[in-house]
């Protein structure tokens, strides 16, 4: 019997077109995604520059799991549908009376649905295979085809997940007899999953979060999180015990749920239901008496005027609106969505464990997921439910036979959707204000909330609402409509990858808005609304289609529906449709014209080509003799209200070469510019599109001679919808990249290997080697100057303050404009900025150094911490390194829309409003770092490490700037807040380094060869330099650094390199520790330290004997991340361990590593009982340590000073061993 039901259900599905639609969509989608990833569209768009293979085991698994999530949305229709159709067709009263057993019925239904789902999933897998073998894909992005990659993914993840989610859906549909509830359940489960994902981000215990993820993705991530590119490309899908337990747990829960259905299910006919509002159970007794009466209906007036119909639509939308907000689906998804937003805010607003203040823009920004995903999902869902509602409830014939026109009926659904969207948006506002109240932040910006939510977000979701109604009114089948909407809304964001880049071709896309406290929405609103109006016009035109295709009555055939539609297409509707469509096309053409014809717009393919041409045309000029800038004077007029600028500048250029220079190459930008060289000259080459000009001087510039070069630059007028200037109304922040540069800029060349090959350019390293003498001629900051004199006069509107490097000479008001004259008294890099905004100023001083913080009104929160940071930094750096070269330190706030970073210019530190200014530092919080303090220390450190010492433009240069600034700020932080904070910082750095290397797009370089790779110079750099100072001692380290500064500060070319830097450290390092320099700086070396066993025994003299057994292993990886265990001599260590398939391997060891034992003080805080470096030379080690207090934990490298991919197994709680007879053991 089981088989006959099972086979019957399968046959049922095989006959259904829906099954083939699902298979087809999944196949097509997968093929497209895979083919895109494999570079099939490289011909029409930019090249994919990646060393990651797209069909490796881990990549295939990730993609298959993503497709599986889409298939979860089909579960209600397939697995739910197999059981639901019996109820829906009222067949259950008949079928349930047949003689089969309950298990046969349920199991056959479930398994048939599951089988069908798995078949659909097969089509996704076949699509992926197909996509990877299509002609036109890029073989460099593809590895060999390995069937096992697919098989394993199905066995480990896809099928178990389908069982788990399938069982839940099956249970829900069986008990509620409602497929939409099954649908909502899937949504809810997916939200819960991402919710768990967000919550567990912070959890230190990765095992727990790996277990808690029903998808198994976190369990997989537990093993693969820090995989290098090599491992990602080559390794098969891992299957460790964490994954096994996770799979067993969740499949088990799935089976348990199915068992529960089996136990509780009975062949009765009543659906299980639940209601929010308990109904009273009073029976209604009908009256059968009283018979004939005269019927006198009161006179009523029927009014079907346009206005009244419109009002009716609004009023009756309340019925649908109530239906939505009272439905479980809406309530559950909204609550989950809000919780998810709450979690996102809680986690997202943290930097180094420290919260940011709940300012309004943050409250509005972090629930982005909610805006983007949930409001859309609910819109798609309820648009469909509303369209089909009257038919589902069989009230359609009553409604459709009233004289209410279709447009009004449909409009009422649209109104109901808008009301729903408004409720969700208000939910965001209440959530935000709730968080603000909870945090004691009472500066409510209700206007800001309302404007952002109803002025900006609403129109966006509303356009989706129109579109959703359109799609749903076309498809009789709700699932196809929803599925299509889902695929379209997700797919749109990937269109750029197939060469469709301009927003006017992508439904409801366009420029976004960006808000900052300093500058409001800036100039982002105009373009935003322009695009929204554009899409709204299309939305309305589509809506007219929804009206004419509105299914009224019982149309029998498609022809009939078309007839009806053409009749319903009344002159009025035709007019509206035409106006909207013409408006849409006209606006689209206009936008296209402005963006493509009136202004130059390059597609990413064209841009790639242009960059290639840059090198092809002008690369030959890279090493020709050019004069260098030695002196800069700029007059800059900033007009905040019209957002314009005018600049007049003068460079003094000196021929520092040994040859006469007769032509000068000017690399500029596309602002309106004019150049002058004082004496007579001739323009010999002008390139309008790449903005490269060559001027020939009539009198060549002789070696040692100088030349005055002057220029004028201004912007083209700003259009309402097009910004041609970087000036902001409040908070302009621009730098010298606005001004012309001398000579060819090799940084503007194509860097991706793939792209270079495509355009026939020779392979090129991202940066030159530090041994390349040509590269040492320039700093990594500028190729047209060494050190300069700098002077500027800035004018701005009278209420603003303008700031640039140098000291204020004069400040005056003239003709309603405010002028600031700055002059730098010492030499500085050719690297300067201009800022203008309304500011409050806090002033302080350190010795005779003036400290000033320019901040936005109301952002005073952390100004004192920054000032403290400046003072402590000056303390430490002047003591340990060298004197400070300026007389002043200024921190200046700039809008977050300009970026979320701080940057150091000579005596000037622009600092984003998003970091530091709104931090909420809690000194009590042990896990939080005072980052306004530490970022300040980092930026002040740059006054030494970049502005005194500047590396040559070669690999490793940022070691002396970024890594050293990190090291310096860590030391300042440690001095102020103690070693505990270090650990938070270093743990974070370790995680970022390990994650960073796993997404490297080219090669991971050793620290001294790093090519401006952030995860190396910031994160690995801070770890390594801090560890080295721990090993050789802070004093010795700083003495070496100070010596290095003495030798190279303010030097002229050739500039210093990381190799020279390392030689100073080498000198300070004793021979026994020199291996550290090799491991940390010259190679990529990692440890794998882990505790095997940790116990203690109480001795008779009440001391404690701690016994620590641990493994130490060390390995290197090459630039792709492939592990090596043998040194240059081919030596390595190896240890066989029982129960492990492979031996532990290691490089030969002679390493000093921390061994620590910890106890607790009275407050229960951890306390160090023992911490000493031990020399380790074996893989397996056992150490006994006697301590005087009761120990609680012990470990090897317990503070994670060394780089170790699993830092959690370094330390373990101690077990007490009771003194027992030896025989017992």
């Amino acid at each position: 019997m089981f088989y006959s039901i099972y086979l019957f259900e399968l046959r049922y599905w095989f006959r259904k077109p829906l099954f083939y639609v699902y298979c087809g969509i999944m196949f097509f989608l997968s093929t497209l995604i895979m083919a895109t990833a494999a570079g099939i569209f490289e011909g029409i768009t930019a090249s994919i520059n990646s060393v990651t293979i797209v069909n490796s085991a881990i990549a295939i698994n990730a993609l298959l799991n993503e497709m599986n999530v889409i298939i979860f949305f089909l579960l209600p229709s397939i697995i739910g549908g197999t059981i639901f159709k019996d109820f829906d067709n009222e067949m259950h009263s008949v079928t349930f009376s047949y003689p089969f057993k309950k298990w046969e019925y349920l199991l056959a239904k479930f398994l048939s649905g599951l089988s069908i789902t798995i078949i659909v999933m097969f089509f996704a897998a076949i699509g992926i295979m197909f996509g990877s073998i299509l002609p036109g894909t890029n073989p460099d992005l593809l590895g060999p085809f390995v069937l096992m990659n697919y098989v394993q993914s199905f066995i480990y993840y896809l099928v178990p997940n389908l069982i788990f989610y399938g069982a839940i859906v099956f249970a829900v549909v069986t008990f509620t007899r409602n497929v939409s509830v099954g649908f909502i359940t899937v949504l809810a489960l997916i939200i819960i999953q991402s919710f768990a994902g967000v919550l567990t981000q912070d959890v230190d215990n990765k095992i727990l979060s790996a277990m808690l993820d029903p998808f198994g993705a976190q369990a997989n991530g537990f093993y693969t999180e820090y995989w290098t590119i090599y491992e990602r490309n080559e390794n098969p899908l891992p299957f460790g015990e964490i994954i096994l337990y996770n799979r067993l747990l969740w499949t088990g829960i799935g089976l348990f749920i199915f068992g529960f259905v089996y136990r509780t299910f009975s062949f009765d006919q009543e659906a299980f239901s639940f209601s929010f509002f308990k109904k009273d159970g009073r029976a209604i007794t009908k009256k059968n008496f009283g018979s004939i009466m005269a019927i006198k209906l009161p006179k009523v007036n029927l009014d079907f005027s346009f206005v009244e119909n419109f009002k009716t639509a609004w009023i009756i939308s309340n019925t649908d609106f109530k239906y939505i907000i009272k439905s479980w689906g809406f309530i559950i998804i909204t609550i989950l969505g809000l919780l998810l937003s709450l979690a996102t805010i809680a986690v997202g607003a943290e930097i180094y464990g420290t919260d940011t203040l709940p300012v309004t823009w943050q409250m509005l920004e972090f629930p982005g997921l909610f805006f983007g995903l949930f409001i859309n999902l609910l819109t798609f869902l309820y648009a469909g439910l509303l369209i089909h509602r009257s038919r589902t409830d069989k009230i359609d014939q009553l409604v459709h036979s009233t004289a209410m026109p279709s447009w009004a009926i449909l409009l009422s659904k649209f109104f109901a959707l808008i009301k729903m969207q408004a409720v969700l948006l208000i939910g965001i506002m209440l959530l935000g204000m709730g968080i603000q109240i909870f945090n004691g932040y009472f500066k409510f910006e209700i206007g800001q909330y309302l404007f952002e939510l109803f002025g900006i977000k609403l129109i966006n979701v509303l356009i989706w609402g129109l579109f959703a109604l359109f799609v749903h009114s076309f498809f009789k089948n709700f699932y196809i409509g929803f599925f299509l909407l889902l695929v379209i809304s997700i797919g749109i964001t990937f269109l750029s990858q197939i060469g469709i880049e301009q927003s006017i071709f992508k439904f409801n896309q366009g420029p976004g808005t960006a808000y900052s406290d300093m500058n409001g929405y800036g100039s982002s609103l105009g373009p935003y609304y322009l695009y929204k109006v554009y899409w709204l016009l299309l939305g309305i035109a589509l809506y007219v289609f929804s009206i004419i295709f509105f299914r009224r009555g019982v149309p029998d055939s498609i022809k009939e529906r078309l007839d009806e539609a053409s009749k319903a297409f009344s002159p009025l509707l035709k007019t509206i449709f035409s106006i909207c469509l013409i408006g849409f096309l006209a606006m689209g053409s206009w936008i296209y014209y402005v963006n493509n014809i009136a202004n130059e717009n390059l597609s990413s393919k064209e841009r790639e080509k242009q960059i290639a041409d840059w090198e092809k045309n002008y690369g030959k000029f890279q090493n020709i003799a050019q004069p260098r800038i030695v002196d800069v004077k700029v007059d800059l007029d900033i007009f905040p209200n019209s957002r314009d600028f005018e600049a007049r500048g003068k460079y003094i250029l000196v021929n520092k070469t040994a040859v006469a220079i007769d032509s000068i190459h000017i690399d500029h930008n596309n602002y309106l510019s004019s150049f002058d060289f004082g004496n007579s000259f001739e323009l010999v080459l002008e390139d309008d599109s790449m903005n490269y000009d060559i001027y020939r001087l009539d009198n060549a510039l002789q070696p040692g001679d100088s030349l005055l070069f002057s220029f004028e630059i201004s912007n083209k007028p700003n259009g309402i919808f097009r910004n041609n200037s970087p000036i902001r109304k409040n908070g302009t922040f621009i730098n010298n990249s606005l001004f012309p540069r001398i000579g060819y800029n090799s940084a503007g060349e194509l860097s991706g290997e793939e792209s270079r090959e495509k355009y026939g350019l020779p392979p090129k390293e991202r940066m030159a080697s530090p041994t390349d003498s040509m590269a040492l001629k320039n700093t990594y900051i500028a190729y047209d100057a060494d050190w300069i004199n700098f002077e500027t006069t800035i004018s701005t509107s009278p209420e603003q303050i303008a700031i640039a490097p140098g000291y204020l000479q004069k400040d005056w008001v003239e003709d309603g404009r405010r002028y600031f004259h700055y002059k730098m008294d010492s030499k500085m890099l050719n690297f300067y900025s201009f800022i203008s905004a309304k500011f409050e100023v806090a002033k302080d001083s350190w010795n005779d150094i003036a400290i000033e913080v320019y901040y936005h009104e109301g952002h005073k929160f952390n100004v004192d911490r920054m000032i403290k940071g400046v003072k402590r930094s000056l303390d430490y750096y002047t003591d340990e390194f060298s004197p400070y070269q300026h007389k002043q330190v200024r921190i200046i706030e700039f809008p977050r829309t300009g970026g979320g970073f701080a940057q150091s210019f000579a005596n000037t530190i622009p600092y984003s409003e998003a970091i530091g200014f709104i931090a909420e530092v809690d000194e009590e919080n042990e896990d939080g770092v005072d980052y306004p303090f530490s970022i300040t220390a980092h930026e002040v450190a740059h006054q030494w490490w970049a502005h005194q010492v500047i590396g040559a433009n070669a690999q490793g240069a940022t070691l002396m700037s970024e890594s050293m600034s990190e090291y310096s700020s860590l030391k300042v932080l440690e001095k102020e807040y103690g070693g505990d904070k270090m650990r938070i910082f270093l743990k974070d750095a370790l995680d970022r380094y390990l994650s960073g290397r796993s997404v490297e797009t080219r090669k991971e370089k050793a620290l001294i060869y790093n090519e401006n790779q952030q995860y190396i110079h910031y994160n690995k750099g801070s770890l390594v330099l801090y560890a080295l100072s721990d090993y050789i001692g802070e004093d010795k380290m700083n003495a070496a650094l100070s010596k290095y500064i003495d030798a190279v500060a303010f030097q002229n070319p050739p500039y210093t390199t990381s190799l020279e830097f390392l030689s100073y450290l080498d000198e300070a390092t004793p021979d026994s520790l020199k291996y550290l320099l090799e491991d940390m700086f010259r190679t990529i070396t990692l440890y794998d330290n882990s505790v095997k066993d940790a116990t203690f025994e109480v001795q008779e003299d009440s001391t404690f004997d701690v016994k620590l057994d641990f493994y130490t292993a060390k390995y290197r990886t090459d630039e792709e991340g492939k592990r090596k265990y043998s040194d240059v001599n081919g030596d390595s260590l190896s240890l066989e361990i029982e129960g492990r398939r492979r031996p532990i391997e290691s490089l030969p060891l002679s390493d000093w590593i921390d061994v620590g034992v910890f106890g607790q003080d009275e407050d229960g805080k951890e306390k160090v009982l023992y911490l000493k470096k031990h020399k380790i030379s074996e893989i397996e080690n056992s150490i006994s340590i006697v301590v005087n207090e009761k120990p609680t934990s012990a470990g090897i490298d317990p503070y994670n000073k060394l780089i170790d991919t699993d830092s959690n197994d370094n330390k373990r709680s101690l077990k007490e061993e009771k003194k027992t007879d030896v025989s017992d053991r």
């Binding site: 209604i284 008496f289 009466m293 019927i295 006179k299 007036n301 009756i316 004289a403 019982v554």
Partner: protein, 296 residues
Amino acid sequence: MELSLSNISKTYKNGVKALDNVTVDITSGMFGLLGPNGAGKSTLMRTIATLQAPDSGTAVFNDINILEDKISLRKTLGYLPQSFGVYPKMSAEDLLLYFARLKGITEKKEREQIVQTALEITNLWEVRKKSVKGYSGGMKQRFGIAQLLLNSPKLIIVDEPTAGLDPAERNRFLNVLREIGTNNIVIFSTHIVDDVKELCTDMAIMNGGKILGHHTPAEGIERLNNQIWTKNIQREELEENEAKFNVISSNFNQDNSLNIRVHSETQPDESFSLGTPELEDVYFVTLHKDSEIVAA
């Protein structure tokens, strides 16, 4: 006041010819549309109620061309489909106010008044706050009547409204219809002859998508005067009688014998006695004739 249909035909996608050249004129009063299941009654009703387009033909109500100007007809239409559902969790009163709005009653006062009247007429006033979803079959049908009254319709179409109602409900229901029917056209389809007998002023018999007869109930009976013959027979004699005579109906008596009725212009044989023609006879004779034509 006149509804006139001419040459209306409709063939479904699956080949079923639901309406076959239907031509009929209907004036004020109760018009009963009698026919067996599947006769095409509901299709005809839906066509008049603007919910379904015929393949050909014209339909005019007063001056309104039903097939072209649906909205105008709907303004004056009251329609109760064969089966309908309601939105869950909504009371009768709320649902009626909702319909009143849909039917274009824009004055709040008027809406409330007409809803109250409709509830009173249909005797649902007491239970107006209850969810309609929880109503019994009869109450739900009465609710259906209440909703169709809201716009004071001139053309009322009720599709098999009495199916499944208990006798008292049915009576009450028919009385209400009758009251409404005095000044308006009420078209009312049924397969129960008694419904028509009791209250229709005009009637048509329909089968196979065709109107087989159109007359008042009295006329129909009149025509069969002296043509209906009855006799009691044993159960086993039925086949033999059916072969010999034009048997239009047969009913069991209490003693398990059968009473058969035969249509014949002359006495079939002396064992038959003359019966009083009833509307049921009209119905069966009409259907019978039709099937004979088809068979021939």
